[in-house]
Symmetry: C4
Subunit: 348 residues, 4 copies
């Protein structure tokens, strides 16, 4: 293993440790879902047991509108996490995202940490790479390799400018990425999506990405895990550490990003992630325009320190909450939910 790989591995381990043990919740930004509430329907006219969560994602029918967000890979520990998440995803019919696969693309030896297809044979698996790497030598070839390693149904490219800016070793050349993203989207045999990592994608950017041929989008908005906070804990650089304080309010909230993106673009599939706390938040996101809802850090404790049973419990709880919310407003299906007029903006 060379020096660079060593560094990448160290970074991955630190990210998981910090996400598990430190205060990385964004402080002065909320997801925005707390500004909405459902108007209860006292006479729902449905049977709780008949509530149906099935939906379509990437042109196929799916059992649930849920996704385990891209999180990790690249180390043995990350592999164990991915394996457990995959088993739970398969059991529950959730789609499954993988963490950035750069390590595996560059080092055959860790490729196995992303290969969890055997544990999740039937659900969509989404490979993951940083779009900025297109300015550091990456192209279609590396993207194909990532898809291959993961036996993935799709590839998502993440945009993480602020994380890179606050990372000492950051790749911060984000110039002229769009044509390169366009090229990759056109060449790959699987759908290519774009996501943020917790600062949100706004309507204008979504439009550009749509026009560049991107097929799905994860707004990955602010209000949940803050990567500036995460990098603050990793920092040995006092200046960046203090500067992080000034950026506690940075980022477009998940709800606002979702609303903008839905209004501006005609993406077939929009994923909402970033600070999703429970199935009620998920229900709100679905009404506001999401097709699929992603959960990240809230699944990590169970995945890192327990087994797939613990993860499954958590996913069941989220599903129960979504069902209860649908019951509460009388929506028997995801399309009924999306068509409801019972989500109200709370007036101040």
């Amino acid at each position: 293993m060379d020096e660079k790989q060593n560094l990448t591995e160290k970074r991955k381990t630190e990210h998981i440790d910090i996400a598990l043990n430190k205060e990385v919740q964004s402080r002065n930004v909320t997801t925005g879902f707390e500004r909405y509430s459902f108007k209860h329907n006292a006479l729902p006219e449905i049977n709780f047991r008949d509530i149906d969560l099935s939906t379509a994602f990437m042109k196929k029918g799916r059992r649930t509108p849920f996704l385990i967000s891209s999180m990790t890979g690249g180390t043995e520990r990350a592999y164990q996490i991915n394996r457990r998440l995959a088993m739970a995803a398969e059991k529950m019919g959730w789609a499954m995202g993988l963490g950035s696969m750069r390590a595996a693309v560059e080092n055959e030896g860790v490729a196995y940490t992303f290969n969890i297809r055997k544990y999740a044979p039937t659900v969509p698996i989404i490979a993951n790479l940083g779009a900025v790497q297109f300015n550091y030598g990456y192209g279609t070839k590396e993207c194909l390799r990532a898809v291959e390693i993961a036996e993935a149904d799709a590839l998502v490219l993440h945009l993480n400018s602020m994380q890179e800016a606050f990372q000492p070793e950051g790749d911060t050349n984000f110039s002229e990425l769009l044509p390169k993203i366009e090229e990759v989207a056109a060449s790959l045999p699987v759908p290519v999506g774009v996501k943020e990592v917790g600062m949100g994608i706004d309507g204008e950017t979504a439009k550009k990405l749509r026009e560049a041929g991107i097929q799905f989008l994860d707004v990955a908005g602010a209000g949940g895990t803050s990567w500036i906070q995460v990098e603050k804990y990793r920092s040995k650089n006092k200046m960046r550490e203090q500067a992080a304080e000034a950026f506690q309010q940075w980022g477009l909230s998940t709800a606002d990003a979702l609303i903008e993106v839905r209004k501006e673009t005609a993406f077939e599939n929009i994923i909402a992630s970033g600070g999703m706390k429970n199935g009620v938040d998920a229900a709100k996101a679905l009404v506001l325009g999401a097709d699929v809802v992603g959960f990240g850090r809230s699944l990590l404790p169970a995945a890192a320190d327990q087994d797939e049973v613990a993860i499954i419990s958590k996913l069941e709880q989220i599903e129960f909450e979504l069902r209860a919310a649908m019951f509460g407003i009388g929506a028997g299906t995801i399309s009924d939910l999306k068509a409801t007029n019972r989500l109200l903006k709370i007036e101040n």
Copy 2:
């Protein structure tokens, strides 16, 4: 006593214990009355002693616009509570609601716990059953039986979807209830009403109920006792317990429900209950469209652990507060109060 009756009895006892001893106040929803305040009238031009609380309810004149909300029955302890409440209601001229009478309908042996007519010979007594039971074998016959047991002036059917959803043993088939409600309303010799149990009834639902022949409505809105909280304390199921947290903001506030219902429908009698704290809240509810105001849990401590004298003190206090509010704006009668332009929405 069979197994099912045993369970019902246990549930009743737990409900009362939890309502008395646990934090069951809704947390992230308020009644909405705090957003209104009265504009003081420095020159009321009335004599405090002449203030007249009399009103009409169910086509008859009544001494006060107040109701003791449906709460209990089915056990000896519940009987004692009902008896004391009935004595106080009679003394003060308040209407009196009974808790769900399913236990009595199914078990002759506990029927006496709802029969408090002898203690309240002159005030309206309201029998109570869950509307959802119409999907579990109930119909006109059972409704008639409940009215008979209670020697009631009216029957109110409660809608409690969220409580059932969070109750392990919950009856959660709420499909196609409306035609069954309509049938019962048409067949019964007494007025039939519908109420929620703390999540509120909105305008749209109220309209449907009105069209189905329902004669009075209790909005039973959010901001007071939260049944999701109550069931959380009863839960042995960890998932439902945690899910309850996600629903802390659920429910249409009593004030909002009242405003919607009054605007959308022409019910002769609308009852406002749910988190009513005092006579000033009651005054606000009356201005916003209620004809009668119901108090539930705030009467329980006196009813459960003390005697009718303690309950009467509490009712007197509420009446004094209503009178003082009417004095403060110069309204000498309930109709003057309802016609006032002195209730203002607090601007933020």
Copy 3:
């Protein structure tokens, strides 16, 4: 001294003690002045030393736009307070209000406690009686007597419905007072005004009073001393004590009352009192339409436990604050201040 006088004396003493030592500040209502702020003028173009506070009140020129609010009398201790306040008022050119003079009207023996003309020969002294007494035997004769005792320049009638309602011994017949007020206003040789005691007078009521011939008005709004709180501390009646909690939000704030009254009526003199904390509040009140600003309880500690020097310090501080506020916006005179466009409503 008969029983009734004894009671009155006891009440007076309790009022002062409670106002000095208990938490009688209104809790859920503020004066409303905190919603306004002055826009600083960096280039005031005036000399601080030339700032002129003189104004007109009751058709005469006065040195300051300030009033010591009606507070006490009827006991030896109250006399000492009145005497010290009068000395300070004279020194600083403030108008001086007296507390309710019913005790003196009914008992020659305590008349001296209101006769402080010798200590304040040149400032306006305002006699005080409760308007509600007109329903308990009072009329022009008693009013004349009060003016005579105080050698007063004016008489103010207070409206205190809520205080009476929460007072065990309260006089709560406020019916048909207006014609009686009109009669008194027409018969008295001095100007007759009306004031509240901390709940505020609104525009509609002000209009009626104006039409009844009332010559000046003290809005005496909410946000300062709450008389319901004061009576709560005096109460031996548990019901009234608890009911007081329900009225913590009662009352029209001083700022709102002022704005309404100024808009609705053409009173020559409007006094703003109720929770005035300092000269900046006074400046805001003057811009919002007051001609004179009254301070009550904030002067009491100095008046009750210290000497006139302490009171004078307090009055000087208030005047300095008013001057500093005028300097800060570049207003050299009270009329400049009243004409400023530099008072802004704080947007939320």
Copy 4:
């Protein structure tokens, strides 16, 4: 040294000590920048390393849009502070303000404390005098002398009415200053600007100053150091000390002042100072209309107790924060930043 010089020196020392050690942050006024937030651009399309902070100030190109605000001089300690600040300013290309130079104009012996040109040969140095001195004998001659002592590129006249009002020895004759300011502006060979010291300059005043020939403006708004607070700590006068409490909400916030001034006037250069906390605040100020952003008290601890290296670190941090904010919205230059539509007012 005569008595008056002694006093001036004592005041200077106290100002620095109080600013360093006491709670002088304004309490009930904020800068207003917290009401704005940037909308993140997930695809910035720029290279972090290419971000260019250069700008124009006083008709010349400058490396950064930053200024060290006028703070001190007149004592040996102040000289050391000025020297270190100058060294840091030179290193980083920040403009450099000096504290009030009245002491130097009146006493040759302390002139050296403002002469830091040798440490900052290439950056703009701004001399400083109080405009109110024009009513106490000052004129063009004294202004020329200040410029000469400092070898300054410009002179800024400060307006500090509230500070003078709360200062026992205050010069509070602010009448008819405008024509005198006009005269000086016309006679001086360098650009003449005007600034407040923390209460803000509004649009109307800015217009007058512009018409009087003033060439640049520093709004020096409220939300940062409060001079009323500073003078409160110096006060031996209890009345002024207590009066200071009443003025905690005084002053036009830096953001509001900036917006007004930019809208009302066509100043070539507007400086925003007053409570600037970091480079994100600076970015907001630049979008809202500032050309240069000034930092005062936040630089003082490093300047007073450490060396120029510590100051440079602080300036670097501020620059990093500005760059990161520009990166986050995809603005590569100061003019791109000023033209962004990504600064949003936070809705309540």
